[in-house]
Amino acid sequence: MTRGDGLVVICACLLVGLSYVQFWGAPDDGTTTATREVRILSGGTEFARLPLDRDALVEVPGPAGITRVEIADGAARCAASPGSQGICQRAGWLREAGDMAVSLPNRVLIEVLGEAERSFDSVNY
């Protein structure tokens, strides 16, 4: 093996190592969770915009009563709402960007914002 060969092999190993760092590292984590927020709309206007990493309990007044929004463990949910069918509560914990819970009677919309690619909310054929 000549010295040139050695140099080539070392450079090749560095390139391979670098490719692992570059493409198998975890650059996604941290950036998306840090910027993730939940937005609460009441009657079409923004009522609050809160970070998901801080636990909170928010009471949103509306025409039908009070909708309680809970934020815990990096997710938000509609804990209680005056609607008779519980549709808002049934949306469960909202964690990913684009997740949404709506209370029509109380005109409240809870939505997770974020940089992440939004998944489809419905597909029709």
């Binding site: 093996m1 060969d5 390139l15 692992y20």
Partner: protein, 170 residues
């Protein structure tokens, strides 16, 4: 009318035939990951470069891609495109390497260079034309590792067959 052939034509034909045989044999081997194969035909290209210069290596390599794809049945398919860009990339790397540092490199270094260039060229085309999805990038480290290992293997073989350094003026 009889085609007149030179000695070099025969040489290229012989080397290309050898490379095609290896190419076809390798196509029969199962591959664990798409894109990973030993690339032993690389040995012939590098030996052609060392013994007869870059021009002959280009002929041998491109003839191997063309005739090999005709025999395997992948002519003008995406596989053929990948094979061709890989061959062109490795030829470019070999030409550059011999022009810049030809006297410092033996068959081993040249084979490693060619294997990595082959893989990178192929990957670039696969990523831009065939599967432009970020998930494909996750495969690149694995592919490069395979290219390095197989480059070392084919380089060792080529070095056993031709232990000297290339002539001063290729």
């Amino acid at each position: 009318m009889l085609l007149s052939t030179t000695r070099e034509d025969h040489l290229i034909a012989w080397l290309a035939a050898l490379a095609i045989a290896i190419h076809v044999l390798e196509a029969a081997l199962p591959s664990p990951i798409p894109g990973v194969k030993p690339g032993l035909a690389n040995v012939i290209t590098v030996l052609a470069l060392l013994l007869y210069g870059w021009r002959v290596a280009v002929w041998v390599s491109l003839l191997r891609v063309l005739a090999g794809s005709l025999l395997v049945g992948s002519f003008l398919s995406p596989t053929f495109l990948l094979s061709l860009t890989g061959a062109l990339a490795s030829l470019a790397a070999l030409g550059l390497a011999t022009a810049v540092a030809g006297r410092h490199l033996s068959a081993l270094g040249l084979c490693v260079l060619a294997a990595l260039a082959h893989m990178l060229g192929q990957f670039l085309v696969a990523y831009t034309l065939i599967i432009p999805h970020p998930a494909l990038l996750k495969l690149l480290p694995v592919l490069l590792t395979a290219a390095l290992l197989f480059g070392l293997a084919s380089g060792t073989i080529a070095r056993m067959m031709y232990p000297q350094r290339p002539p001063a003026a290729p």
